[in-house]
């Protein structure tokens, strides 16, 4: 069994060097990003597999898993809870660990002596330890790093235009070419929140990889699992045939295709209409909820206002029958745009989100004071 000491000399390509796996692995989950803890909560909704299946060792062939997550921790909290995180930050954790980050990463370079988000205090000074400090200390030592939810993957809601915190996704913070000690890129599972089974399935694959019995999960250029995010919402939507017939919902009472009332499904990479929200129940346009693009790097800004028809949808819906190939190409352009994060998601020491707390309509933007 190889042990994660944080020594970068032992880093090697996952494909070539690992012939044997780990018997035991630790999951250090930190939800202290700009988050709502909704991904931790959503994770508990999955029963395929369930988190207790993993923790109790019911899935054959996986390493023994030690899960540390604030929402589910049996400890009362404080130092007792923080101990494994501190141990890993010091490089003293015996077994390899997977770092799971939930929530977007604030820009701590723009707030003087203040801080946006912290996780415990410095043991000597008593000052808050920022999330960024923990990432800086843990990511280089982690066998694998996972970003859970759209906030952690791409910035998400809290990185919206006008935000005060300058927050961003984990890959914007660590760099898109980051490699973990186990030779893996950041593994992004977007979704606001994550579709519960999408996350647990990805985690399980990573654990099989840790056990030495599977290759790393295949990821696309935005570091998403390909089998989950390789198709669009529209391609999996059971209202798609209304689109094909050029028969569109005019308001939300209708069971028909919702592209004219705000659904972005044709250009959004997500499997929810096909998989359902949990246990095959619920979802988005398949059950009457417009797709607002919540899995996408461009979420939310490139999809707002949510309840208006996406630009281009009237053209594509008008031309649907004769020009299928043309439509596919047009959608390709929009898909490329919505797969990019807005340019203000960065870790430079400046806030460029257009933040203006005194904003009023028709008034020249106030100087940011």
């Amino acid at each position: 069994m190889r042990r994660g000491t944080g020594n970068t000399d032992t880093r090697s390509s996952a494909e070539t060097s690992r012939t044997t796996g780990f018997d035991e692995i630790t999951i250090l989950w930190i939800s202290e990003g700009m988050s709502c803890d909704g991904d931790s909560v959503a994770m508990t909704a999955s029963d395929r597999p369930s988190i207790e299946d993993i923790v109790l060792g019911l899935v054959p062939g996986l390493p023994k898993v030690n899960l540390y997550n604030k929402v589910l921790s049996p400890t009362v909290g404080g130092e007792e809870f923080l101990a494994p995180y501190r141990m890993a930050a010091r490089g003293e954790m015996a077994e390899p660990f997977i770092l799971v980050i939930e929530g977007s990463i604030p820009n701590e370079k723009i707030n003087g002596d203040g801080y946006w988000s912290s996780f415990g205090n410095d043991e000597i000074t008593g000052e808050p330890l920022t999330l960024n400090w923990w990432i800086d200390h843990l990511a280089p030592k982690a066998w694998a790093v996972m970003a859970v939810g759209t906030c952690a993957t791409y910035g998400g809601i809290h990185a919206m235009a006008g935000n005060p915190t300058g927050c961003m996704g984990l890959a914007d913070y660590l760099g898109w070419d980051f490699r973990s000690w186990g030779g893996l890129p950041i593994i992004n599972v977007p979704g606001c929140p994550i579709q519960p089974e999408n996350f647990m399935e990805t985690l399980t694959w990573v654990l099989y990889h840790a056990a030495g019995s599977a290759p790393p999960p295949p990821l696309d250029s935005m570091l998403r699992p390909q089998w989950l995010f390789g198709k669009t919402v529209h391609e999996g939507c059971d209202r798609g045939s209304y689109f094909e017939q050029g028969d569109f919902a005019q308001d939300y009472n209708s069971p028909k295709c919702q592209v004219k009332i705000g659904c972005w499904g044709p250009v959004v990479n997500c499997n929810v209409p096909k998989r359902g929200w949990m246990g095959g129940i619920g979802g988005c346009p398949n059950v009457g909820g417009i797709c607002i693009g919540c899995t996408m790097p461009g979420f939310p800004d490139k999809f707002m206002p949510f309840m208006d028809a996406p630009p281009g949808s009237s053209l594509s819906s008008m031309l649907i029958k004769p020009y299928g190939v043309f439509i596919r190409r047009m959608r390709g352009f929009t898909n490329v745009t919505t797969n990019k994060e807005p340019k203000w998601h960065h870790n430079r020491p400046i806030l460029t989100s257009g933040y203006d707390p005194r904003w009023r309509p028709g008034v020249t933007p106030a100087q940011v004071r």
């Binding site: 030690n66 921790s73 909290g77 404080g78 923080l82 929140p193 949990m278 009457g288 949510f306 028709g362």
Partner: protein, 598 residues
């Protein structure tokens, strides 16, 4: 800070104070730290400060956005009750747009919200709170209580099937106990029920201003009903188990009623609209507020002082204490009069301008991100630090006193709430009665959670009947179309699972000019305000007696944790506070309970 000084004086002469801190607190949503001074000689918490460490800035970045986006955006405030925000936002937007949801759409939202209460209270109670009462924990903190539990027969064993109190406590052991695992399963069934109505948990997809997009086919209601029936045994057993454990606690540890106790100062903003009455007009809000199936109101020292949402609305004040914000009193107000001509205070959410001003933690100046919501009681001139009792407690308390809810399944009596659940697989038809207890304390907040799950299940049966009646009558309308006006204001009042929730909205030029959500945690978890009044967590933990058998060296703080968790803390609601003396904190490293299974 007079309140603090008084507390300090009450600390007991001669006692040596030990500083102890827990940061972060686990098994809650969000970032919370507890900083205390404990008098171990007199076995009492003398001083408590609570801190949170997260600022995201919703009220700032929503400015200038399309008002219709508000329900989608505000859901992301909270990862466990986001849908409560969406619903509250729909209420506020409906007022601003001058529309109402079609009755069937309203029943569907009520069914979704009922499922949310069932899910969230179950997960929080059985998988998070009850770890503090489980065998593995009590073995470490109070071995003598566990020994007594082994020899105490559970009075309701014929209902839940566990012979002794200790058997019950074992069933709550994390990841391994039977009830712990069953609760996770039930939390999934109830979330599926939620998804049937609102599309996705926890950020809904099918809820819009003007109604829902949920397809009201009979199948949706069948799927909901069959799941509801399947969990009725669990819900009935949960009430019986909670009563057994909490009654045992009072017997085993006399004086436990003082843990987490504070003055009865409760707020509830009401839940479950009656579509036959609600029209979302501000002018008629008093009437339709009182028609809600959970009654809004404020209780001060056992007295119900109002059930009028207009009174409630106008009394809200957002105070600054020692927070990282600049004051907005010199900014231009947005709403000087409400639609009835009543003056609106500059400290009311409609008029708030959020001006974040991050800085170093300085305990003599600014040390907190949270503001302090208070309710101005004009009869006494007090700014009341209301709490929600974790939501369930205030909802039952206000509804019981108000005597306004009268349905076949849930009835208010003026001093209690009667909840009837029909026959289920193992258990017969049962009626539970929640009676107003003598205290507002940790145990009664926790106990009320089990009763409110039953309340929500019972109301869900009623809502299902009303909805299916409409569907069978051919009504399929769930959504009302609307135009966004150039200028409008709106407010929404609802109950998030853990308590009061309000959204205040100002529209100018068809855009959001101001938007302020006030969820329960700023109320419960606020720091000392500009008058020096501590927030409810701090207030409830101060003077809490210590029953834990461990001394300072292996102290876990279990009584303090029970006190704070009883409020169901949910910190992403925007709390950010830190109050403390800047002194070196004594660090306590406790044994790693539960480390083997994380």
């Amino acid at each position: 800070m007079t309140a603090t000084e008084e507390r300090r004086a009450a600390g007991g002469p001669g006692g040596t104070l030990t500083e102890m801190a827990w940061d972060p607190i686990t098994r809650i949503i969000g970032n919370l730290g507890i900083y205390t001074k404990i008098d171990f000689a007199n076995r009492e918490v003398v001083e408590c400060h609570t801190t949170s460490s997260l600022f995201r800035g919703y009220s700032v970045f929503m400015k200038g956005k399309d008002p219709r986006d508000a329900g989608f955006i505000t859901s992301r405030i909270c990862g466990i009750c986001g849908d409560n925000h969406t619903t509250c936002s729909v209420y506020a937007q409906n007022m601003a747009y001058g529309i109402k949801n079609p009755p069937l759409g309203e029943w569907i939202i009520n069914l979704g919200e009922a499922a949310e209460y069932m899910f969230d209270h179950t997960l929080f109670q059985d998988n998070l709170v009850f770890v503090d009462f489980c065998e593995a924990m009590v073995r470490q903190t109070n071995p003598s209580v566990l020994a007594r539990a082994e020899n105490t027969e559970a009075p309701n064993r014929n209902i839940h099937g566990y012979r002794t109190i200790a058997d019950l406590m074992r069933a709550f052991n994390p990841f391994e106990g039977e009830i712990y695992k069953e609760a996770l399963r039930v939390s999934r069934v109830t979330r599926e029920m939620f998804c049937l109505m609102e599309g996705r948990h926890v950020h809904p997809s099918t809820v819009y201003p003007g109604g829902v997009g949920t397809m009201p086919e009979p199948t949706v209601f069948t799927d909901y009903l069959s799941r509801l029936i399947s969990i009725l045994d669990f819900i009935k057993q949960a009430v019986a188990m909670n009563d057994d454990i909490f009654n045992f606690w009072y017997q085993a540890l006399p004086g436990y009623e003082e843990v987490g106790r504070r003055r009865v100062l409760l707020g509830c903003w009401g839940a479950f609209q009656d579509p036959e009455v609600v029209d979302y007009r501000y002018e008629t809000m008093t009437e339709w507020g009182r028609a809600m199936y959970v009654t809004p109101g404020i209780v001060v020292d056992d007295q119900l002082i109002t059930t009028d949402l207009i009174d409630i609305n106008l009394g809200i004040r957002i105070l600054l204490g020692s927070s990282y914000y600049r004051d907005w009193v010199d900014e231009e107000p947005f709403v000087t009069r409400d639609p009835l001509g009543n003056p609106v205070d500059i400290r009311h959410p409609w008029n708030q301008t959020t001006l974040p001003d991050p800085g170093k933690r300085d305990f003599n100046d600014k040390y907190s991100w949270v503001m302090s919501p208070r309710w101005f009681h004009k009869e006494t001139g007090e700014h009341l630090a209301l709490d929600t009792g974790g939501g369930c407690f205030a909802r039952l308390y206000v509804t019981a006193l108000a005597n306004m809810v009268n349905t076949p399944y849930v009835k208010s009596t003026g001093h209690s709430v009667q909840i009837s659940l029909p026959k289920s697989e193992k258990l017969p038809e049962m009626t539970f009665e929640w009676r107003i207890p003598p205290w507002s304390n940790a145990i009664e907040r926790d106990r009320s959670r089990a009763y409110f799950i039953a309340y929500a299940a019972a109301m869900a049966l009623y809502f299902l009947e009303r909805a299916m009646e409409r569907v069978r009558g051919g009504d399929m309308k769930v959504f009302t179309n609307f135009e966004v006006p150039d200028e409008a204001i709106g407010c929404g009042f609802h109950e998030a699972v853990r308590g009061v929730l309000s959204h205040h909205l100002v529209i100018r030029d068809g855009k959001i000019a101001n938007y302020h959500p006030y969820p329960p945690t700023p109320w419960n978890g606020s720091p000392r305000d500009s008058f020096g009044t501590p927030g409810p967590y701090e207030d409830a933990i101060q003077n809490t007696p210590i029953f834990e058998e461990n001394g300072p060296d292996d102290f876990k703080g279990i009584d303090i944790m029970r006190a704070v968790r009883s409020f169901d803390p949910c910190l992403p609601c925007g709390v950010h506070m830190y109050v403390g003396g800047g002194r070196t904190l004594k660090k306590i490293h406790s044994p790693m309970f539960g480390a083997s299974h994380g």
